[in-house]
C-alpha cells in the first residue's frame, strides 16, 4: 500500500512552460526511491511540491490518503516529512545539536532530554559529540549534510525527502550518506525519496523514477 502518491501532477512557471507534466508516482515505506533527470527536468520542483513548499498547478499529492494541499503545510513539514535540502539550510549561529533540537521544538516533540536524543541522532549519522557541539560553519560540507539528515529525522517522520543530498560531497562522503539513507529505509522503515542526478546514488535506490522517461512516455 502506498504511503505517498502523485496523481496527474502538472507544474509550470509564470512563462507557462511546463516543467512537470502529468506525473503519477507511488511511494511505499521501507524503500529508497531515486528521482532522476537532467538539470532543469523539474527534480527540485517536484521535491518542493512533495514537501509542501509549493503547490501543483493541477493534480494531487496524496500523503496517507490526504491531499496535502488540504492540510496545514507547516504542520505537514514539521511533523510528517523530513526534508534534506541541497544547500543544507541549517542555521549558522546555532550548533549542530541546537539545529536538531530546534526542529524537535518546532514539532513540539515530547521527549525527555532533547539534547541527548539529538546527540544520538548525530552519532547515528556519523558525528561525534565534539563535532555535534560545533557551530555549523565550523563543520565540513559532508558533516553539514549529516546534520541536515539528523535534523530531518529528529521528529521521526515517515517520509524523508532529500534534494541532491550528495551534490556537494566527494565520493567517500557520497557513499556514506547513501548508506545512511539505505539504512533508514531498510532498518527503520522510512520512505526515503532522493532527488539526484548521480548515477551511483540512483543505482543504490530500490526504485528509480526518471523524469526524462516520463516525458518521453507522455510524448
Amino acid at each position: 500500500m502506498s504511503l505517498f502518491k502523485l496523481e496527474n501532477v502538472d507544474y509550470y512557471y509564470d512563462n507557462h512552460v511546463k516543467v512537470l507534466d502529468n506525473i503519477n508516482y507511488e511511494f511505499e515505506p521501507s524503500k529508497v526511491y531515486a528521482i532522476t533527470g537532467k538539470s532543469g527536468s523539474g527534480k527540485t520542483t517536484l521535491l518542493s511540491l512533495m514537501s509542501g513548499l509549493d503547490k501543483p498547478k493541477s493534480g494531487k499529492i496524496i500523503y496517507n490518503d490526504n491531499d496535502i494541499s488540504k492540510i496545514d503545510e507547516d504542520k505537514y513539514r514539521s511533523h510528517h516529512v523530513g526534508v534534506v535540502f541541497q544547500s543544507f539550510n541549517l542555521l549558522p549561529h546555532l550548533t549542530a545539536i541546537e539545529n536538531v533540537v530546534l526542529s524537535m521544538d518546532i514539532a513540539n516533540l515530547k521527549v525527555g532530554n532533547k539534547k541527548q536524543v539529538a546527540l544520538s541522532l548525530l552519532n547515528e549519522v556519523g558525528l561525534d559529540e565534539e563535532k555535534a557541539n560545533r557551530r555549523i560553519l565550523k563543520l565540513s560540507g559532508g558533516e553539514q549534510q549529516r546534520v541536515a539528515i539528523a535534523r530531518a529525522l529528529s521528529f521521526q517522520p515517515e517520509v524523508i525527502l532529500a534534494d541532491e543530498p550528495t551534490g556537494n560531497l566527494d565520493m567517500h562522503n557520497e557513499k556514506q550518506i547513501t548508506e545512511i539513507f539505505r539504512r533508514l529505509a531498510h532498518e527503520k522503515n522510512k520512505c526515503v525519496i532522493i532527488v539526484t542526478h548521480s548515477n551511483s546514488v540512483a543505482a543504490s535506490a530500490d526504485v528509480v523514477y526518471d523524469l526524462e522517461k516520463a516525458k518521453e512516455n507522455l510524448a
Binding site: 509549493d54 511533523h79 544547500s87 539550510n89 542555521l91 546555532l94
Partner: protein, 503 residues
C-alpha cells in the same frame, strides 16, 4: 518557550548587530527620559503651584468706559443719565455690605476689605513730603463732585490681618508694641517710625485726629504699635506720604466715618477696597458672572493676580513645551532610524526566516521570535538609557531653566530700558491698583515682568513611576514600529521564494 530561548541565542550570538541597535535605543531612551522627566516634573510643579496659589480678585472701576459713556451721553444730548454727578451716583457704590454679599459665594474661600479716608491731626505734625520729592494735593473732588478738603493723614481701616498685605509680605514690620486687634471696635492704631520720631510719640500715647471738613469733630486713637517701612522707596498715594499713614481696624474707622456722616458738611470722602481669595483659578469667570448677577455695576471690572502666577511659571511652561517638542522629534527620528536598521537587519536574516519556515515553523512563531529579540534589545537599551537619563536630567533641566530665565530677564530689561525705567527704580506692587484707563509705570513693569517677579528657578526633575511607565510604552511603541518591517516581510514571502532567491 523555545521561541524565547531561540531569541536569546540569536541575540547573544549576533552581538555586533544587537549592540548597534541597543546603542541607538540608549541614546533615544536617555533623550526621552530627560524630556519626559522634565515635562512631567514641570507639569507637576505647575499644577502644585496653581493648586497652592492664592488667587485674589479685586474690583476696579473702569474709568475709561465711564468717561466714554459720559461723553457719549453729552454729545447725544441724552438726558437719561443726567449730569456727571448724577451719572456717578447711578453707579452702585462699593460699600462693605455689597462686599459681604459678593464674598458670600461658593467661589470665595475668604475675603477682606479696607476703608481709607484722610484726617488732619491735632497736636501732631505730618512727616514732610519734601524729602521724598512728592507733591501732593491739598484738596480734592468728592464723590458728588463738590470740593472737599483733604486731611494730612491717610487713615486706613482693615477688616482682618490678611488685609494688611504690607505686613504679610514683610514691607512693614512692627518694631515696638504690637498690632491692634483688627476685629476690635477700640480706637487703637499703629503708626510709622518716622511719624513717631517727628512727634515724639510712643506706645500708649493718644493722638487726636480732626475731621478736615469740620474741625469740631475730633477722634482719639491710642498707639499700640510702631512699624518700620522696609521698602526700597516709600509707597505713596496722590494724597499722602506712606509715613503719614495711620493704620487701624475697620470697625474703629467705620465708627469715625459714620459719626462724620451725621452732618452732610462733615461727611468724609472714603475709598473702599476688597479682596476675594478664590477657591481656584478655574472659577474666575464664574465669580465675575455671579457678581454681575448680584448687581455689580458694569463699570466695575474683576481683576486678579493671575498675571503674577503666569510670570512666575512662564520659564517652566516654556521648558515643558520645549521638552514635549524635543520628545516628539527624538521619537520621530529615532523611530525612523530603527525602522531603517531593521530593514537592513531583515534583509540579512532573510535566509534564517526561510530556513525556519521551511522546517515548519509557523509565521506567527517566526514573527514572535523577531519581536521578542527586538523587545529585549530595546528594553535593555531603555534601562541603560533611563539610568543615564536620570543622572543627567536634573543638571540639564536646571541649566535649561537658568538659560530660559536669563533670556526672559534680558527681554524684560530691554523693554524697561525702552521706557526709560531703570530695573530697580520703582517698587512694584502687582495688582495693587484699581483698573485704570491705561497702563502706568508699574503696570508696564508688571506686564513684562519686573524685578519682583520671582521665577521658579529650580526644577526637581526626577524619574517617577509615570515616567518609567511612559518609557516602557515608548519601548513597546519602538518595538512595534521596528518590528513592522519584519511583520511585512515574514507575511509576504514564502520560504521557497526566500531560499530560491538566495541560491
Amino acid at each position: 518557550m523555545y521561541v524565547f530561548k531561540n531569541a536569546l541565542k540569536s541575540i547573544t550570538r549576533t552581538k555586533s548587530r544587537n549592540i548597534l541597535i541597543a546603542l541607538i535605543v540608549v541614546v533615544l531612551a536617555a533623550s526621552c527620559c530627560v524630556a519626559l522627566s522634565i515635562k512631567n516634573s514641570a507639569t507637576n510643579l505647575i499644577q502644585s503651584y496653581e493648586d497652592s496659589y492664592e488667587v485674589e480678585a479685586w474690583l476696579g472701576l473702569n474709568r475709561q468706559e465711564m468717561r466714554f459713556d459720559m461723553n457719549q451721553n453729552k454729545t447725544q444730548g441724552n438726558e437719561e443719565l443726567g449730569n456727571p454727578q448724577d451719572f456717578m451716583k447711578n453707579i452702585a457704590e462699593l460699600d462693605v455690605s455689597s462686599i459681604k454679599t459678593y464674598g458670600d459665594s461658593e467661589y470665595v474661600k475668604s475675603y477682606y476689605y479696607t476703608i481709607q479716608t484722610n484726617l488732619n491731626g491735632s497736636g501732631i505734625e505730618k512727616v514732610s513730603m519734601e524729602d521724598s520729592n512728592v507733591k501732593y494735593m491739598t484738596g480734592g473732588i468728592g464723590k458728588n463732585g463738590e470740593s472737599k478738603n483733604v486731611g494730612d493723614f491717610s487713615v486706613v481701616g482693615y477688616s482682618s490681618l490678611d488685609a494688611m498685605t504690607n505686613f504679610v509680605n514683610g514691607t512693614y514690620k512692627i518694631t515696638t508694641g504690637e498690632m491692634f486687634d483688627p476685629v476690635s471696635n477700640d480706637n487703637n492704631c499703629v503708626i510709622s517710625e518716622e511719624l513717631a520720631e517727628q512727634n515724639e510719640l510712643s506706645i500708649g500715647d493718644k493722638i487726636t485726629l480732626v475731621n478736615p471738613n469740620k474741625e469740631e469733630k475730633t477722634y482719639e486713637f491710642i498707639i499700640t504699635g510702631i512699624y518700620s517701612d522696609n521698602s526700597e522707596s516709600s509707597e505713596f498715594s496722590m494724597f499722602s506720604n506712606a509715613a503719614n499713614q495711620i493704620l487701624t481696624s475697620y470697625n474703629a474707622l467705620n465708627a469715625v466715618v459714620e459719626n462724620s456722616s451725621q452732618e452732610e458738611e462733615s461727611t468724609l470722602m472714603i475709598q473702599t477696597d476688597a479682596r476675594f481669595k478664590l477657591v481656584s483659578t478655574d472659577v474666575i469667570e464664574a465669580f465675575s458672572k455671579e457678581l454681575t448677577e448680584k448687581g455689580l455695576s458694569s463699570y466695575y471690572t474683576v481683576s486678579t493676580n493671575l498675571d503674577s502666577l503666569e510670570s512666575t511659571l512662564k520659564p517652566i511652561q516654556n521648558l515643558s513645551t520645549f521638552a514635549t517638542t524635543f520628545l516628539i522629534i527624538v521619537l520621530a527620528i529615532g523611530g525612523a532610524i530603527l525602522v531603517i536598521i531593521n530593514m537592513i537587519n531583515i534583509r540579512e536574516r532573510k535566509y534564517e526566516i526561510g530556513v525556519l519556515r521551511s522546517i515548519g515553523m509557523k509565521k506567527h512563531m517566526v514573527l514572535g521570535q523577531f519581536v521578542i529579540e527586538t523587545f529585549m534589545v530595546t528594553l535593555s537599551g531603555i534601562i541603560i538609557g533611563a539610568v543615564i537619563g536620570s543622572t543627567i536630567t536634573v543638571p540639564v533641566a536646571n541649566k535649561m531653566l537658568e538659560s530660559e530665565i536669563t533670556s526672559m530677564e534680558e527681554e524684560t530689561n530691554e523693554v524697561n530700558s525702552n521706557f526709560g525705567f531703570s530695573a530697580k527704580s520703582v517698587n512694584m506692587t502687582p495688582g495693587a491698583n484699581e483698573a485704570t484707563p491705561g497702563r502706568g509705570k508699574n503696570d508696564i513693569k508688571e506686564v513684562f515682568g519686573g524685578e519682583n517677579v520671582s521665577y521658579v528657578d529650580k526644577l526637581n526633575a526626577i524619574i517617577d513611576v509615570k515616567t518609567i511607565v511612559e518609557l516602557i510604552l515608548i519601548g513597546v511603541l519602538l518595538t512595534i514600529i521596528s518590528s513592522s518591517v519584519s511583520m511585512v516581510f515574514i507575511s509576504r514571502y514564502s520560504p521557497l521564494k526566500i531560499l530560491s532567491s538566495r541560491t
